[in-house]
């Protein structure tokens, strides 16, 4: 092949590709020896620059350019071969340099333009669209970034300042709520987390990850600006294992066992599934009743489709258990009453206690004792009389007698106050925090039984005189004697004549209608027929009049009634969910200053009613030292976030003929289930009616390529009791002040 390029010294020109300018005639192969200067100007004037040697000028043209010319330099020393100037052009390297400058300038220009355009500029630099719930705040970076609050003028300071992830998290918490420990792992208090860690410790320390340092920022897991449909809650399972270092291959292979889950506590309502299904329901069928045949006869899914709820008492239990509550034939619970007192001894040893039924021989009811204990003097008297036999005070010391007298008058004063003050007087005695239900809608006519003949007919007059320090009225009949037919006029104390004067005809309680002493019936003929009239001798055997129903039978559907036999005012529950009993059980379950009297009421109700037979009594959560009656079966608590979550509703379509027992298999009937409710206030100590869940059942579907095995599929990260969103709206809220003003 023809060779074009010489490399010998004389014919090969020296190339300078690193220079910025190239001779304009180089492409023609006719470049000059000097070449352009650094600014790109042609320096060529002639083919050479003659050199002077003594008195002669010599040609200096290079051999590569033809060597010395025959004519030689001119006499004045100039070259005889002038060269016309060329237009130098840039070298490849220089053009590349210009391209670099040009692209850099374009980049910088674009940046400044983008920054200059305020709104659209921020859109341009926005790292990505926000998720749909946050999209409304996209125009205001300061909603989520503390750095943006200070403005762009401090960008250099902010850029070098301390990490703002935690202060940014506080902005998240303006709307989102994760309890009082949002920056702690699992949003749990340190002590709780430590306790849980010790409980489930694997003996392997957590790596240097987010050990409980309390500085977990929201952005650690929740990465925004990844599009409208990004999943902010998405987190790799491996991240959980930063702390949860127990390694396992998959849910089906090595996942920690379920333990007793979901039976982590006894049921709130005592219900022995095994006993009912195997014994009680077949018995009911034999009796012609229609017991449940399917789980969903008693259970239904909640509104969130997650928990299985228990239907109400009326639907599930009333058919068999309502009679247990109303207890036909029983008297109910003694609330108020006249205790037995050795009146004779007291009258001898003290100024006297006025009228007192000689037949009264009962003890102070727990309710009465509690009401009396609210008065310090009476409380002291009760303490003094702690071991005294009030029905026999013949040998009582003066102190005991005085205390008994104090007690007697306190009882009378209490009843008198209730008679004259009604519910308000009771509420005043119990304290304003007592709910109205605790008064049981006590009717006036029931309390007026205390002033009926044979009880305390002159109660109001006696109490008025006692309080005024005056002698007791003498018009009173002997307590044991039958009362006269007409209402006994009460003595009118000088200081409060209105009370028993005009008021008796007005709003004040009226004396009870007298009735035969032998008949306790409040609804006898006297009450309905007016004052009793002597029966005329019958000329012929009169037909036997039907006897009025006894008071305790009268209130078969529940309510207040007077038991004349033991001088008590009693209450009978009106059915399931009786407000009076429930209120008092709740009140007395809580620790109180008068713990002795309240616990006696709790015990009395628990013994006499059926509430506690089914409703378990747990120790109240710390710091309370009291008890908590579980009135309801487990129900969804939207604000309660637990470590484990499960949706029953989404699993129903997977069930076969075994139905719920696919997972919830009955345990053999055992008395241990019921025993766990007796004298036990720790709900964690229990025996379940069901066998523990079989993890393999879940693993049948929850495979990597099946229903999934992500940790967050069944577990919550943020746990605790809190509302997920903060509601900050104020009534009559004033417009927010403009920032900077």
């Amino acid at each position: 092949m023809k060779r074009l390029q010489p490399f010998d010294f004389k014919s090969s020109q020296y190339e300078r590709p690193n220079q910025d300018w190239v001779c304009g005639r180089k492409d023609c192969g006719d470049s000059c020896a000097l070449g352009p200067d650094a600014r790109g100007s042609c320096r060529a004037t002639a083919e050479c620059r003659p050199r002077k040697d003594r008195d002669r000028w010599l040609c200096t043209r290079a051999d590569s350019r033809g060597g010395k010319c025959p004519d030689g330099p001119r006499p004045d020393g100039s070259c005889c071969k002038p060269v016309s100037p060329c237009t130098p052009h840039r070298s490849v390297r220089a053009r590349r340099h210009i391209a670099v400058l040009l692209v850099s300038a374009l980049t910088l220009g674009g940046i400044f333009v983008a920054f200059g355009l305020d709104h659209s500029g921020r859109d341009f630099f926005n790292p990505g669209p926000l998720t749909a719930p946050h999209a409304s705040g996209a125009a205001n970076c300061a909603l989520c970034h503390t750095a943006a609050e200070t403005g762009d003028s401090n960008w250099s300071k902010d850029a070098l300042a301390q990490n703002s992830a935690h202060s940014d998290s506080q902005l998240c918490l303006n709307c989102h709520n994760f309890g009082s420990n949002p920056a702690e792992p699992h949003s749990l208090p340190r002590a709780t987390l430590v306790a849980l860690t010790q409980k489930t410790a694997t003996g392997k320390p957590a790596p240097d990850g987010h050990a409980p340092t309390g500085d977990l920022a929201c952005a650690t897991c929740h990465q925004e600006h990844h599009g409208r449909d990004a999943d902010l809650k998405k987190i790799a399972d491996a991240s959980c294992q930063t702390c949860h270092t127990r390694e396992f291959a998959s849910f089906a292979d090595g996942h920690p066992g379920f333990g007793s889950y979901p039976y982590v506590r006894r049921t709130r309502i005592e219900f022995d599934h095994a006993a009912h299904i195997t014994t009680y329901f077949p018995d009911a069928t034999k009796k012609g009743q229609v017991p449940p045949t399917q789980c969903n006869d008693c259970h239904t899914t909640g509104s969130d489709n997650r928990l299985m709820l228990t239907k109400a008492f009326a639907a599930n239990c009333a058919a068999c258990h309502l009679d247990t509550i109303t207890k036909p034939g029983t008297k109910g619970i003694a609330v108020l009453g006249i205790p037995g007192l050795d009146k004779k001894s007291l009258d001898a040893k003290t100024p006297g206690i006025g009228q007192w039924p000689a037949d009264a021989d009962g003890e102070l009811t727990p309710f009465l004792r509690h009401l009396l204990a609210q008065d310090p003097k009476t409380a002291a008297a009760l303490t003094t009389l702690k071991d005294a036999d009030l029905t026999n005070l013949t040998t009582a010391s003066p102190e005991t007698a005085a205390a008994a007298s104090q007690l007697a008058w306190s009882v009378k004063e209490l009843i008198a106050d209730v008679l004259t003050g009604g519910h308000i007087a009771l509420q005043k005695r119990l304290g304003t925090t007592v709910p109205p239900a605790a008064l049981g809608q006590l009717p006036s006519d029931s309390v007026q039984a205390f002033v009926q003949p044979g009880w305390w007919p002159d109660l109001l007059a006696e109490v008025a005189a006692h309080r005024a320090g005056q002698p007791l009225p003498t018009a009173a009949k002997p307590a044991a004697a039958p009362a006269p037919a007409a209402p006994a006029p009460a003595a009118k104390p000088a200081a409060s004549g209105d009370l028993l004067g005009d008021d008796l005809l007005g709003d004040a309680p009226k004396p009870a209608v007298p009735k035969p002493a032998a008949d306790d019936d409040l609804l006898g003929g006297d009450l309905l027929g007016g004052p009793a009239t002597p029966a005329k001798p019958a000329t012929s055997p009169a037909p036997k009049a039907p006897a009025p129903v006894a008071p305790e039978k009268w209130v078969a559907a529940g309510g207040w009634h007077v038991s004349a036999a033991d001088f008590t005012l009693r209450y009978k529950p009106a059915g399931h969910g009786d407000a009076f009993l429930r209120a008092w059980l709740d009140l007395t379950a809580q620790p109180a200053a008068s713990a002795t009297t309240t616990s006696a009421i709790f015990t009395q109700i628990a013994t006499a009613s059926s509430c506690i037979k089914c409703h378990s009594v747990d120790a109240a959560p710390a710091p309370s030292a009291g008890l908590l009656v579980q009135w309801h079966a487990d129900a969804p608590k939207p604000q309660l976030h637990t470590f484990t979550k499960f949706s029953h509703g989404t699993h129903f379509s997977l069930l076969d003929a075994k139905g719920c027992q696919t997972c919830h298999q009955l345990a053999p009937a055992s008395p241990a289930y019921t025993a766990a409710f007796k004298e036990n206030h720790d709900p964690a100590k229990f025996v379940s009616s069901f066998q523990p869940l079989n993890q393999a059942t879940c693993a049948q579907c929850h495979q990597e390529r099946g229903a999934g095995t992500s940790c967050l599929l069944c577990h919550n990260y943020h746990v605790g009791e809190f509302a997920s969103a903060k509601v900050k709206s104020l009534l009559n809220a004033a417009p927010a002040p403009t920032k900077g003003k």
Binding site: Q5, S164, A165, H225
Partner: protein, 278 residues
């Protein structure tokens, strides 16, 4: 077997092994950070911008040949493998996701263009020199225009000589009609890139057809003309090949400058909103 490996192969194996080890270490480090809920974006971003700056320094190093900073070949090797490493860092930094913000999309696109142009340049630098060497006379790129002009002058002298000696304008007419434009400037750039010599074969085929109408003297001139055509074809091939080896940098280097500017701004914005390096 090791004794049979060339130094080139040994160096490549060593470099690939080192790159693999570093990549595995960095990957493991990033995964460990991510699993332990540390903010990995800041760490990988810092590593990425540092790597990009080191890659860009290679161009500056070429401008300072007098400094005793390792051999240029060593820098080139470092540039190549650090470039691959930067791609890994970029993927770790983005979490293997496509960016969805305008600025970040621009930044990622520029990085992708720089990386792709770098890979293209690596391919050119590995494939073209051998082809250029095999193809014919190796000429200095800057001399090619002058050599082409010189060749054109020789061809024109040859054509004039044919007219004078043969008193025939057959070759001159053929030159004026068919060859002058071919010699005027570089031709068939894309044919050469595609290793397609059809244009030369076509011209040589026309010369062979012309030989049927020419005498022996003209045959000799046509033979010389054919040599000149082949020399011109080689010049064009060298022009295309060497030009490609130079001009791919017109994409790679300016975009690198843009990438550094955009990357620095991206880092500043990240620091501004995150507030300092954790």
């Amino acid at each position: 077997m090791a004794a049979t490996l060339t130094s080139y192969t040994r160096r490549r194996i060593l470099a690939v092994c080192m790159l693999t080890i570093v990549a595995v270490v960095v990957w493991t480090w990033q995964r460990r950070l991510a699993i332990s809920l540390h903010p990995t974006a800041m760490a990988t971003g810092l590593a990425l911008i540092t790597t990009c700056i080191l890659l860009a320094v290679f161009n500056s190093r070429k401008k300072l040949p007098f400094l005793p900073l390792l051999r240029a070949a060593t820098w080139t090797q470092f540039h190549i493998y650090a470039g691959w490493f930067s791609v890994l860092l970029f993927l770790l930094h983005t979490g293997f996701r496509l960016p969805n913000g305008s600025f970040e999309t621009l930044l990622a696109s520029v990085f992708a263009l720089v990386a792709l142009s770098g890979v293209f340049g690596l391919y050119l630098s590995r494939s073209l020199p051998a082809r250029l060497t095999r193809h014919g006379e190796n000429v200095i790129y800057e001399r090619i225009p002058a050599l082409r002009a010189k060749l054109q002058r020789e061809v024109e002298a040859l054509v004039l000589k044919s007219v004078e000696e043969t008193k025939s304008s057959t070759i001159a007419d053929f030159y004026a009609a068919r060859l002058k434009a071919y010699f005027d400037r570089p031709r068939n750039f894309f044919y050469y890139l595609a290793r397609n010599d059809t244009p030369l074969k076509n011209v040589l085929g026309e010369i062979r057809l012309l030989e049927r109408y020419t005498n022996d003297r003209e045959h000799a001139i046509l033979a010389e003309l054919t040599e000149c055509l082949q020399a011109k074809e080689n010049l064009d091939f060298q022009w295309a090949g060497q030009g490609l080896l130079k001009y791919w940098l017109f994409v790679h280097i300016p975009l690198t400058a843009s990438l550094l500017l955009l990357g620095a701004l991206h880092g500043l914005i990240a620091l501004y909103y995150v507030g300092g390096i954790r």
